[in-house]
């Protein structure tokens, strides 16, 4: 057992650190620090910088643009990215549908989509959840019926995050109603400009338009956009959901927030002294840091295990990463709002959207409340923490 990084890992960490520091555009970094929303062009610009460096999709197979890193390297890369306030790459492209196409796509699909996914020439959104199918995803009802060389799709998807920005959707549809619910699902790629696709915005608690409902009214999808085999879509979706594990806890993001909170607390006066001198505040931070340290160790144990097994073995501790990781991300957004206090009461949508530089009150406090509200989603999406508890109870504890 050796709890330290190897010297190669450390060299890589330094390389990544200087890359992020010198390549992340300052205006993007500023928005990230202020907790503002990034416009589409920022996300695209950053993805293209990564792509130019060859780091657009590290975990893809090397023949499709992956870096060939092991899990430890990838972990270091993610942590350094968070540390520098770099945005997450669009996970729908890079962590979700990209790997599925790599693994199950046709040569034609690979050739067409993969370069565009990497370079964010095509923006994908996800069409999984439906109004009646959340935690029980396999009960989905959106129907695709084969009609010659096409599928005709009818139904409704919910939580189509970034659907309004997207060019394409990867979508789970029901192609067989006569079998066990998991066995009748197919994985389709749908061009969002196809007639019959309609996207309606859904505004979340932060007052922002991230997500949507998407309606399908006799949408014609060429059968060549089916991934893999018909009725095997559930397997691909499970592959996708199990894919992104090493970075799920976002330890680096929580660390960056804590650094930020500490810096802000020095400037904030409470009853005649800086908040950073306030004992209760310091103790509260110290408790979060302790939890975060434990999580970081757990994370390293998991990624080291992934490195050894080549990522083939599903470590149930990844659920711990999700549960604790989301709790700590939420704890930091909560604390940020506590620091902001009255300064964070004003509702300032334009500042959140980075449409103005002028905040009501100090700029650092301007997004604390909406980010706290939006942070509540972290324990809901991608398998709610209750579902994660169920998984641990069953898979780890044998209950």
């Amino acid at each position: 057992m050796d709890l330290r990084f190897t010297s190669e890992d450390i060299a890589f960490r330094n390389e990544a650190r200087s890359f992020f520091e010198s390549n992340l555009p300052p205006h993007i970094r500023r928005k990230q620090i202020l907790g503002q929303r990034l416009p589409k062009e920022d996300v695209v610009a950053w993805q293209r910088i990564l792509n130019k460096k060859g780091w657009a999709c590290p975990m893809w197979p090397t023949e499709y643009g992956g870096t060939g890193w092991d899990a430890v390297r990838y972990y270091i890369f993610k942590e350094e990215s968070c540390r520098a306030y770099a945005p997450d790459p669009l996970s729908h492209n890079i962590q979700q549908t990209g790997p599925v196409i790599c693994a199950y796509g046709t040569d034609e699909q690979k050739a067409f989509f993969l370069p565009k996914l990497r370079n964010l020439d095509i923006w994908f959104c996800q069409g999984f959840s439906e109004p009646g199918s959340g935690s029980d995803l396999a009960s989905l009802k959106t129907r695709a019926v084969r009609d010659g060389d096409d599928y005709i799709v009818n139904g409704q998807k919910l939580w189509t995050t970034n659907g309004h920005r997207a060019d394409w959707m990867y979508c789970l549809v029901r192609t067989d109603t006569g079998v066990k619910k998991q066995a009748g699902i197919s994985y389709l790629l749908i061009d969002m400009k196809t007639p019959g696709v309609q996207v309606r915005p859904v505004v979340t608690l932060d007052g922002d338009h991230h997500t949507n409902e998407t309606f399908f009214d006799n949408v014609r999808v060429p059968a060549r956009n089916l991934i893999g085999e018909e009725n095997k879509g559930w397997g691909y979706a499970k592959f996708l959901l199990g894919n992104e594990r090493a970075g799920i806890a976002k330890v680096g993001l929580s660390k960056a927030r804590i650094s930020l909170i500490k810096a802000l607390a020095q400037r904030m006066q409470v009853e005649g002294a800086p908040l950073s001198e306030n004992r209760r505040f310091r103790e509260k931070l110290a408790l979060i840091e302790t939890e975060l340290q434990a999580l970081e160790m757990t994370n390293m144990v998991v990624v080291a295990g992934m490195k050894k097994s080549g990522g083939n073995r599903q470590d149930p501790r990844t659920s711990v990463l999700k549960i604790k990781g989301s709790e700590l991300q939420q704890a930091t957004t909560e604390l940020m709002l506590e620091v902001g206090g009255p300064h964070s009461m004003a509702h300032q949508h334009e500042f959140l959207e980075a449409l103005t530089d002028n905040a009501i009150g100090p700029d650092w406090a301007g997004t604390a409340a909406p980010n706290y509200f939006f942070g509540r989603a972290v324990s809901i999406f991608g398998g709610s923490n209750e579902i994660q508890h169920n998984i641990v109870a069953k898979a780890v504890l044998g209950l």
Binding site: W159, V203, T204, P342, A346, H347, P370, R376, I380, E386
Partner: protein, 386 residues
Amino acid sequence: MDFDLSEEQRMLKESVDRLLEDRYSFEQRKTYTKAPDGWSRELWQQYADLGLLSVPFDSKYGGFGGGPVETMILMEAFGAALVLEPYFATVTLFGGCVRIAGTEAQKDALLPKIGEGKLLGAFAHSERNSRYDLADVQTTAKKDGSDWVLDGEKTVVIHGDCADKLIVSGRISGGQRDKDGIGLFLVDAKAPGVTRKGYPTQDSLRAADITLKGVKVAAGDMLGESGKAFPIIERVAQSAIQALSAEAVGGMQEMLDITVEYLKTRHQFGVPIGSFQALQHRAVDMLVATEQARSMAMFAAMMVDEKDDAERAKAINAVKVHIGKSGRYVGQQSIQLHGGIGMTLEYKVGHYFIRSTMIEILFGDTDHHLAALARAGGLIAPGTTA
């Protein structure tokens, strides 16, 4: 000991409940937020007609003569309906200052007008650097002959944008955080030198940052004694916390009810999700927190007029601690148990969560009040050892 409402109190509760049931559906509320003021002037007049705007005022000034229990009844109902109108700003804060510290002439001039719905007020006290310290006042009040001149900036003045009159705190003497040397002044919101920048707050209410530049105030428009306003401000803050505690309970009960209803109707895996024990127990913990918070709202009503300053202050600290913690718990869990739908502004429950978050911040957060309570020795006196 009797926790039942009197006949008059029951009638008050019924009338406000009925009005809000008719006029404050979630959809109706949405239309009020789109009005120029961000709330309904028409409903405001109805509150006045029902006598709600004069509830805490003495009958001498056309009031209902109600006490903290009546305030609790109203605020709980307002909390359940997520009322947008400036009741808290005008009646609790502005009216509270006048009620506590006004001269007969001031009360005669102001309280009946509030009751009739003809005067909106706001309490312009908090400043950029004051956070939760009620004595932290940098706005200056300088004597100019027999008049006063105010200079400074007030921030996050609740409903300061629509107020006709403001009560402004200003420092007459002493350092930035001294309790001595603060004065309260009645200022016309349109007086020369007053500029207001209004904005919505997170919870769809309104607030304003207000700049005062050489604002002249006549001697007769000072509230209370010169330089002795701090105890008045403290009393008003305590009344405010009492009112907020009831509002918070109204919201928590709604969050609990909406969540339980959702658990019963939302089906996944072929069953209502309320059949899962993990979710049932979470809902029960929300109920326990709500009931405990309700008890603390009662305690607030019991103690807000307590004569002993120290006991009253500690009791109100304790109330705010509990309301803050339980509101946060119930709010977060109501979102979690709803899943995605709880995250959208299209659904009601999130609005309660947001409001309860703002209530925790208003007049001092949980940490602030817990520290104050601990400094003051807690609620229970030390005993002896064996």
